[in-house]
Symmetry: D3
Subunit: 338 residues, 6 copies
């Protein structure tokens, strides 16, 4: 039974160097259009849901191209405003082995999304028309107007009795020095409104400033997440622990805390082709499991497999169907499908 899900956030142009080259080594770039909300919605669209970004794109050929590409990803453009001059961009130099991937942002503070005025979106109307809305902590890092828009939207969703989904997604570089202290009040407001939250123990410790007695990550998680759930009255909290192996494989452990119980996926270990957006795939898997009434143990395994598959796909945006994820949950690595 398909749902209707919106996401509030920035659409960005990703400009990637081809063939693992550095920016200084290339005279071509590969272009795609993504963003945390775009990624989550795109995955949900592949699962059969109706998916609508709530955002602002520039009113020029770059905005046209972005909008066409969102349509291509299966997203509805009904709630996309066209206004302003700039699209946020990021340049990606994909890493290899000991060389980390490098992201250089461009034009972000001045983008159409980040300069859209308060109150310019019809939040109440959208809230009435959808089942759930996804918010991302990256938006909170932009500026006060974006923060106030996000909160106003979340309040509308809450008021309409719909589901508020919030991914903490704290990015240190965007908040700058004393970032945690600046971020805390905004995060707390969002957490009070949210029904489903993506976070882990580090967010609890650093953003929320919770004290912790254990020293192992998993123990900290078991200690802090129930506390957060209780304090902010959050029905469902989910997230992952990622570890990068010697040799470059990643391993991923997904968790889901709901009804006061922890559920964990089996740890998955896999090679990585494109790491960006894999967290959004996890978020989409959790949300799809909840919307589809999967058992929680099934939901956390589904989300982890969705995230694993997202690492094998070119670009930020997940492309796997529900049957493909089910198969990845059941089988080992596949040979050729013909």
């Amino acid at each position: 039974m398909p749902n209707t899900i919106a996401a509030f956030g920035e659409v960005m142009m990703r400009l990637e160097t081809p063939g693992l080259r550095l920016l200084s080594q290339t005279d071509t770039l590969q272009v795609s259009y993504s963003g945390s909300g775009v990624n989550v919605l795109s995955a949900l669209s592949r699962f059969g849901h109706r998916a609508l970004p709530v955002t602002t794109l520039p009113d020029n050929p770059i905005g046209d191209a972005a909008e066409a590409n969102l349509r291509k990803l299966g997203l509805s453009t009904d709630y996309i405003r066209r206004d302003g001059l700039y699209l946020g961009m990021y340049f990606l130099e994909t890493g290899f082995g000991a060389r980390p991937s490098r992201v250089t942002y461009s034009n972000r503070p001045h983008s159409s999304f980040n300069t859209a005025a308060e109150g310019i979106y019809p939040f109440a109307g959208i809230a009435g028309a959808v089942d759930a809305v996804h918010f991302c902590g990256i938006s909170l890092a932009m500026n006060d107007t974006v923060r106030r828009n996000a909160l106003a939207f979340a309040e509308s969703v809450k008021a309409a009795g719909k589901t508020v989904v919030f991914d903490c997604n704290y990015r240190p570089a965007l908040w700058g020095e004393d970032g945690y202290a600046i971020a805390r009040p905004w995060y707390e407001k969002m957490l009070h409104l949210a029904d489903i939250v993506y976070m882990n123990e580090n967010d609890a410790i650093h953003i929320l400033g919770l004290p912790v007695s254990s020293t192992e990550r998993l123990d900290q998680l078991r200690e802090l997440i129930p506390a957060v759930s209780k304090s902010y009255n959050i029905a469902t909290i989910a997230g992952t622990h990622r570890h990068i192996e010697q040799g470059g494989q990643h391993s991923l452990l997904g968790y889901l805390h709901t009804g006061n119980v922890f559920y964990f996926s089996d740890p998955l270990t896999f090679p990585v082709y494109d790491r960006i957006g894999a967290g959004d795939a996890y978020a989409s898997g959790i949300l799809h499991g909840i919307l589809s009434d999967f058992a929680p143990e099934q939901t956390v395994r589904f989300a982890s497999a969705a995230s694993m598959l997202a690492h094998t796909i070119v670009g930020d945006t997940p492309f796997s169907s529900e049957p493909q994820i089910f198969r990845a949950m059941m089988e080992g690595i596949g040979d050729i499908e013909r």
Copy 2:
């Protein structure tokens, strides 16, 4: 001492998405021309043999391109008919890690090869002019006319006292439901004619319906292959066991059963760049070993190394020379050759 080898089968256009993209993610495709027979012949051509596909290509610019590319691979076009309108095609989305490669066929049932009339090839003449002819079970899956053409050709080869080579290559998706039952009589006829057969225990169990008492693959192989060899009077049977490791490396064990003795290669473990056609490389290695009077233990190791190297080559078609394969048999992984 070079031999002259023909292969009966379909030539296909392979249309591959670049850079591990999905079909929905690309606006370019990489084109090559292959097919089981093309691959085997191409490998044999690199070993110094004369190699002639027996097939039909469309009489249009696509057929021209296919023919030009077969010439480039070193194949003679003497027995290529030009007739009809279509070339079989397959679209390849190469997988990565937990995402399997995906093949989508197009135009296959209506291809020039698959619609060529019975009796239209000069099989007797060809049989007289060559040393051996390679047949592939994929052709048997096409339609009755192709099946009858294949059998008629194999009978001509047998009648001329030349070597019939048959690769079982059973493809479940092509035979459909009840495929094994439909396939069995045709496979049995080919096996009765064949001198060299590529198969493993699963073919014996499923296609031929042989009972088996053991449960381990290797035990089943040791139990069933001698039985098949005896029942159908096949001088040589060969094949491989493939295992995909966690992390995506493949491991391969080659076997050769001849003179009632089993010979095995050392198990080889290696990373995979392009898996398609690696079975044809193995088949070519076995055939070259037999034609060149290698000792059987040498032949099975040569074929396994040929197959391992074929996994490192772009495209379906093997490209390694005899000295390159010998070196891969002797050394570990090489550094730079300069």
Copy 3:
């Protein structure tokens, strides 16, 4: 005031060689998805109308890619069925100077669209929901089932009081020998149903078998089009005369016959980058002019300029907005817009 327009017809994969190469000279192809209806709808979508193809795409990754690309073009997928195995394809070797462009079809007779059963589309429902439906003579060339589907749809549209748009688009190679005689009854049925028709004097002479007394093309047009309009009771007939200049420039004269009056554009002469789909751009311009109540002299000039611009755009599909076409109508060749 935007309208809602559907188009019945086949979606095709265009596989073009890059850089003016021949198929034998390239190992990459550029992929796009088009078709006469797709082109007309895409142009109308850029003019602000709602545009819906009525077609069948295969239920596999190729169909997924086609659907995603239609969404990207701005088309609604509401009336797209997903069924069957194949998408029609054409290979394009773009010509240059004295070397004509060459099109090689593949898989067309077996495509999902051309094998879709009679009566499987909800024609009445669609007819009720739209303002106009575009039909193309290419569909009539496919097979009886497609022809009957097209006629049934046109009858539904007529019955619902909506506009039937028909582009004669007679393709000799598709109809084969005695093609005109075979085509005539079907074309006559469509013409009796149609409100807006694209054709010129050659269609009247050859398909409809009308006698003609004049020998100059333009005189023949003036003689025959009013006769056709009267015989078949067609409100509006439009079309173009194209001439290829020495040196390769094309020149185009558009005509529009409505209310028993002929309107002509100025002859336009221009260089050509991609000629395919330029006729569909003309058709879209005429339709947009009528839907938008442009004066007829304005409509025919708008359509001619739309067609001229379509020759400057990569691919089959027009991409110009209404303001861009207006500017091309007014100005000479532009320098840089910045």
Copy 4:
């Protein structure tokens, strides 16, 4: 005898769609680094002069790439500051025939160059070390800080007894409404300082507000340029008249006014591959002619041929050597050089 020439202005990243595609039609972009000053300096470097941009590039991988590419063009990086976050960008969709090229700017107002503080460049030191400095009217359109920096630099150059070169390069879109009135005082200040100026009659009429009695462009030029030269005490004024032919060829007439005499090139007519930067090539040719003591009639012909050749080169930046330009002045269109 080589000279040392600096240029004050912004370096931009040019992001061009390949193969005449629109932004909505491509997922790759071609990157280069240019700017009016970069183009002039690059041309001068090819003529053997020492060429130094005076600018600010961001202190990140994008700035590294820009700097590496300027070095590649033969420019010295001695006066390049590295500071700030952004590089100005423009997206280019190259036109064809009746479809004009389209430029979409990104990030320009926030670029490292346009946000560099007043007084941060060591203008006096640079002025002492060079023979001439090139300024461009585009810089004047940016903001007050850039304008004041430009003027301060020009005053330093004047004070040091070196040559001030000023290209009016008025861009209506950058100055906005009432642009001429806003621009006039800044242009007047620059003209009072300048020794060599690039402009034509339109600049005199619109920016400087000069009255004009004639109606033909060439008459206006002959009327106004001597007046400007006299009013602002400018030794040399030069510029071009460009006309776009039906069919897309451009024709160019260069003029040079010096010592109170007008010199004109023959009108040149030629096809255009990449029009951007061709004006900078003309400017470089005039400057080189003056620095090299060419006769004025030679200088204007050299500059026009340099500009014509710049239209045949990929990218904004001229690449022709002095001998290549001399040959283009003497010969018709060349065949192959081998």
Copy 5:
């Protein structure tokens, strides 16, 4: 009735910058394999003849690639020796408008062909097996060993009663200063042996040093070619006059002098995509006309149309079939063939 034709000459690797870029502007190159003989043979192969290069390729992966590509062009490798280390190369920067194409040779004097020893080819055997052999004046420019090999081969062909075809193809840069004087004795020897010669009046004047009384090219041709034919007893002499129009179109007039009569094609004017190899296409057309007993007026028109079409094909090597050339002779510029 197909003939068997050999050609003696060097195979070269062509390394072309893409998209009209300069070598300094590109980090990719497009590779193909050509040469005067390769081009002529390739065209003849398309006309149905058997075509065999007589040459030496290096015995390394570059030689493998060259050989594979010659097979792809339809050439037999029976007379290709594999020896030595180097393949001659040339870098091509294709020109545009007033910018001429630029060729930079690499490795040529040290190539396997140019260092192959005298007497190492089985010339007599080849001469016995073929109908005609093509020689090119470029080979004569290499070194004494190549010259002596060429003459020895031509003598064998003559001795075997087969046809000697000689294309003067004088390249000033390869012969250097006093080139004509150095070249003359070698050219005279070849002309005494030749049955079919490609040349024009300039070759007669400069290489052969013939005096001429007229001043117009065409008059000179009419004066000198019969004289050459008589002096050297050459049955057939053919060639072209090329003129480059303002705007870049080329115009071509073909002539054929046989049986003491001159035949001329109509002058053809056309745009040019790739000019290199167009002379070889003309040569192949003349040779095919003679071998096929076309009337001389037909032969010269066929050769001119073949050359015109060769200008529209990517790369040095002609790709047109006989029917395509006939159509180009009859029609104007074609639209789309589908």
Copy 6:
């Protein structure tokens, strides 16, 4: 505190097949410009030093392109001569897994560098202007003139009291049969002049012919390097042991012998993207450590990490900055940097 470092050696054009294809499988090549000295200098330039190749490039468009690319890498062209016709080239077919990379040289013996006359470089002047000069054993393999030039330069450097750096870099294929015997006297001369040498135990055994009692590589190293250091009075000797793991990862152990003490890096294991030039990165790291007065244990770890990172970079030339190498020394494999 930046230093000024020169390097004497050949610049080469690297022509690499894309996407792991063989030369026979590609019609495009990727071009870059490198060489042992270029690589070392490029790395040093990234560390802030002034870097000047001492070499000869051809005086043609290929030389222009090479020079532009060296500037792009950050190298000064002050000591680059332009003379002669050819640039050395190598074709690279990058390997995968069991398929080794394959290098085919072209044009090397005839390159501008290898044919530059003795005494043509102003060695004494250069020696006076720099702090250190890097020499490479590959140059010694070329011909007597190059060898004598190298020695003369090293003597000038010694005479000027500057640092002679020598990388043994013995390439068996370049020296041919009896290579060690031919090489020995030249290597001995260089070693007597050198202050910093890159070598390992194999060089001592084979080139210098030293006897060795141990059988393990590391024991041999500990036995022989101090002996070499003493015999030739070399202050610092450094090098690596490389091992290729099953599965294709490389592992690297760096050593540094200075002040009669051995320092070793931790063994590093890592995947490899582009192995060529990684030894030059190690050399640059050692040299930078010494120039920057790092502690020896720090120097050897820095050089090893620099080499590890060079394996992750496209092309021969290292691109890592000092902070990037420090981070790689401290951390495990990084995730995304944003």
